[in-house]
């Protein structure tokens, strides 16, 4: 019984540490404090050129929620275009993230008319 209890304690600690590490990674790697205006330019130059539906799936800022953009940026190594990401400066990536996050599907950016 005591061994079983210890086992579950260890499982809980490992789980807690893993979650904390994941949360810290998500929170620290990318935040929306970059230059969104520059990020828009960089996104259009580096991402949109393929992701306009011609050679890759069409994407725009509101393709994903803020949480989804956060996950995408934190795990970009899994993407087919990971090599392109690695060529980019961390500051540029933060700028792109800021633009996408601030205009995400669930961002408070109001709709417009016309």
């Amino acid at each position: 019984m005591a061994r079983k209890k210890r086992f579950w304690s260890v499982v809980c600690i490992v789980f807690f540490v893993a979650c904390s590490f994941g949360a810290a990674l998500a929170g620290s790697e990318f935040s929306n404090d970059g230059n969104g205006r520059k990020g828009k330019y960089l996104y259009r130059k580096n991402c949109r050129t393929c992701h306009d539906g011609s050679s890759a799936a069409e994407i725009s800022p509101n393709t994903k929620t803020q949480a989804q953009w956060q996950r995408t940026f934190n795990t970009y190594e899994r993407l087919e275009c990971a090599e392109e990401w690695q060529k980019m400066d961390q500051g540029d990536l933060t700028d792109i993230f800021t633009y996408l996050y601030d205009h995400a599907y669930d961002s408070p950016q109001p709709a417009t008319c016309g």
Binding site: R37, Y41, K45, T65, D106, P110, A111, T112, C113, G114
Partner: protein
């Protein structure tokens, strides 16, 4: 589609309000001809006649048109029966558009001011000189203020507007200001705060409709204005609230002359009844709604009962109760009509929220006959790469902290403090739209930096932004003003450089996806050759940007790579190509669509209404929680009241004051159509509506000249003494009292609305509040 087809004679029966008035009140040969196409053939010449499909631009609707051109001259404009959005309808404005290209008041060549501003002294210059002048002025302003946002750009909707934004982005200013905060931004934000989107209403299939202040029989929106009059299902009940007896009131089953600014009491009380009697859609609420329990508690604890509401809005409690029960009974085919222009009051976003929430609790959402999120036809977009500039500061209406305090009403029964309304800056501003009222105030106070250049496309802020004297003061501060227009508008009259734009009948306009329950794509092609040396915004942006590229100082604060990208992707690949190539790319997903646009003027993937996207399992709404929000998490995070609370109406400051109301007629669009001869024939000047009893007290008789005064200004116009308005309100329509002698038919005729409107606002959306002005009236 076939069910919607209607011949022109049938249509003219439908849109009777507008066109009957047009033909009754005038000797309009052309409109009469439009009324009976069979008789028309007798008058036609035997020349070379062609019919060309395009889309109207006399208002925002972009209805389908077929232009009849004989020997190169536009003879008349017919409705397009295949246009699924406009239902084969063309209103008085659309018909009268045929006269627009031939108006003697058209601007024909670029004009450079030679006298003082507003003196009317101009010299004609070539387009090359005009482009050079504009580019040099932009360079001067950039050098002087080292901030690209020192130049502001104002525009309004239209198919060429996206090319105005090529000029904006090529220069790099963030100070853009558009029409929504003079129109529907409170509506957009109120509904979006609940659903994440601003929806339409399916009036073609609704069984029970509540319209609040949306005069759809006069203020025409397609397909709604056609559907609720012509295609409504048998037995549809319309309840209409308006302080005036309008054309829509005449068509309603019940009209309530609601006390202005108290509509929210009515909707809150309806909600109270539905919650108390448990008439709401429990399954829909359980599955889709966030914050229901808090909302119910909020409604009950504030005791928003029908009896309470009656004391506020002058609508009997039993009528409110009846409306609520009927609304729930017919759900989900019940509609609280979202409408369009909603810039009525301060605190208005909360009122619009109540409409959206009432819709939600009864599940009147995204099904036939309900309120439905807009669908759209997806177009292929271009990816122009505009440079990233370093010398750019944030928009003034966002950065000028404390500016809201300068413009919100100083005398209100519910001061801002305590209602959760923002006081320093607007809570939610659209990046492109900005807020006209706060923008102007920031410019007037040079907060947080000077704005000294002003480019205007198609907008007429002198006539459209409340408090004209402030707008003129703002323009006085400018080092340079350039206006792109078709006629010498009041704003153009005070400009330094005026560039003549082609009419919609002379130009290629790019494709535009009109979203809605019946989504379509429209575009325009010339139906006649340009009559004068006018150009489109596509050509004007190309011309100015080319000149800018010859001035090195304009590109010093960008990276060389960015500049090269701009030259290639914007200039070479888009602006130096024919606009038809741009349009073909937009439609490239749909083989044959471009040809169809040329042949029929419209393209749609389906002629059937689109419902149900958000009803699919697992759908995530564009709200913070992903659900329909009755408790708004974003508002809460911003320190705003997360649920709508009633706010007492602004009261008259003294005896004898009347609340001033604004509205529309079916034969004019804002201030843009009054100088078109056929429409001018219908209405040559405006008149102020005043209740018969009040007029008697003031000694005013029908047709008397009256002086109307507010804190903002004073105007003189004729009186229209009528029973069709409440005693505590007066009204006149926008578009008269023009300052520009270039608008020869309406110059100094009637009264301007903007001259007397005070510049109060809703500080959540930044929208002007156009029904918050009190005026006095006396015989002139």
């Amino acid at each position: 589609m076939s069910a919607m087809k209607m011949n022109r004679r049938r249509f003219l029966g439908v849109s009777g309000g507008a066109l009957a008035a047009a033909t009754l009140g005038s000797g309009l040969g052309q409109l009469r001809a439009a009324e009976d196409s069979e008789d028309l053939s007798k008058f036609e010449s035997q020349g070379n006649k062609v019919s060309i499909a395009s889309n109207c631009a006399m208002c925002v609707n972009k209805c389908g048109i077929i232009a009849e051109v004989i020997d190169g001259r536009l003879h008349k404009i017919n409705p397009n029966p295949e246009h699924v959005k406009s239902r084969g309808m063309l209103c008085a404005k659309g018909n009268a558009g045929a006269a627009l290209p031939y108006s003697p008041d058209r601007l024909k060549r670029p004009l450079l001011r030679t006298g003082k501003r507003g003196e009317g002294k101009w010299k004609e210059i070539s387009w090359e000189e005009a482009y050079r002048h504009a580019a040099e002025k932009l360079a001067e302003l950039k050098k002087k203020y080292t901030n690209r946002s020192s130049v502001a750009f104002a525009s309004t909707e239209g198919l060429q507007e996206e090319f105005f934004y090529y000029l904006v982005s090529g220069f790099g200013s963030l100070n853009t200001v558009r029409h929504p905060t003079l129109c529907l931004s409170t509506n957009i934000q109120g509904w979006s705060s609940v659903y994440g989107v601003y929806p339409d209403a399916d009036l073609r299939h609704a069984e029970f409709v509540v319209m609040i202040g949306s005069d759809r029989a006069q203020s025409l929106i397609t397909p709604d204005s056609v559907d609720f009059q012509r295609y409504k299902p048998k037995g549809q009940i319309l309840v209409y609230l308006d302080p005036r007896f309008t054309e829509t009131a005449a068509k309603a089953d019940k009209w309530f002359a609601v006390k202005p600014r108290t509509d929210m009491a009515f909707t809150l009380a309806m909600t109270h009844v539905i919650l108390q009697e448990e008439l709401y859609d429990k399954a829909f609420v359980a599955e889709n709604v966030h914050g229901f329990e808090q909302f119910r508690e909020h409604i009950f604890s504030n005791e928003y009962t029908p009896e309470w509401a009656e004391t506020k809005c002058d609508i009997p409690a039993e009528e409110i109760r009846w409306t609520a029960r009927q609304f729930a009974r017919h759900a989900p085919r019940s509609v609280i009509y979202p409408g369009r222009r909603s810039s009525f009051y301060a605190h208005e976003v909360y009122f619009r929220q109540t409409c959206a929430m009432l819709t939600a609790i009864c599940g009147c959402w995204d099904v036939k006959g309900a309120v439905v999120p807009k669908s759209s036809v997806s177009l292929s977009s271009h990816t122009p790469l505009f440079p990233f500039f370093y010398d750019v500061e944030e928009r003034v209406d966002k950065e000028a902290v404390g500016i809201v305090k300068k413009v919100v009403p100083s005398v209100v029964d519910c001061p801002l403090v305590g209602t959760g309304l923002p006081e320093d800056s607007c809570a939610f501003l659209s990046e492109r739209d900005g807020s006209w009222i706060t923008f102007r105030e920031a410019v007037l106070h040079d907060e947080p930096y000077p704005v000294r250049g002003f480019f205007v496309f198609k907008q007429n802020p002198v006539q459209s932004v409340p408090n004209t004297s402030k707008t003129l003061k703002m323009m006085e501060k400018m080092d340079f003003i350039c206006v792109i227009e078709q006629q010498m508008s009041d704003t153009a009259w005070y400009a330094d450089l005026v560039l003549p734009h082609s009419t919609y009948l002379e130009s290629w306009d790019p494709c535009h996806a009109l979203s809605g329950i019946w989504p379509v794509v429209v575009a325009r092609q010339p139906v006649i050759q340009p009559l004068f040396k006018t150009k489109t915004m596509f050509e004007i942006s190309r011309g100015i940007l080319k000149e800018m590229l010859t001035i090195p100082e304009l590109w010093e604060d960008t990276d060389p790579e960015g500049l090269e990208d701009f030259k290639k992707t914007v200039m070479e690949e888009i602006l130096d190509q024919p606009i038809q190539a741009y349009m073909e790319h937009q439609l490239s997903k749909y083989p044959g669509a471009y040809e169809q646009i040329l042949e029929k003027g419209v393209f749609a993937l389906s002629d059937q209404p689109q419902y149900g996207t958000t009803r699919k399992k697992g759908f995530r709404f564009k709200t913070k929680t992903g659900k329909i929000e009755l408790f708004n998490e974003r508002f809460q995070a911003k320190g705003l009241d997360p649920m709508p609370s009633y706010c007492e109406a602004l009261r008259p400051r003294k005896e004898g004051e009347y609340r001033f109301l604004v509205g529309r007629t079916a034969w004019h669009t804002h201030s843009s159509t009054q100088n078109i001869p056929h429409l001018w024939e219908i209405m040559k000047e405006n008149a102020i509506w005043i209740n018969t009893e009040e007029a008697r007290k003031l000694g005013i008789r029908n047709g008397d000249s009256c002086r109307v005064s507010s804190k903002a200004g004073q105007q003189t116009l004729k009186a229209y003494v009528t029973e069709k308005i409440r005693r505590d309100a007066v009204y006149y329509v926008n578009g008269w009292g023009r300052l520009s002698p270039g608008m020869s038919l309406v110059y100094k005729k009637g009264a301007s609305e903007a001259e007397i409107l005070e510049d109060t606002m809703d500080s959540i959306s930044g929208s002007a509040a156009m029904h918050e002005t009190y005026v006095t009236l006396e015989k002139a």
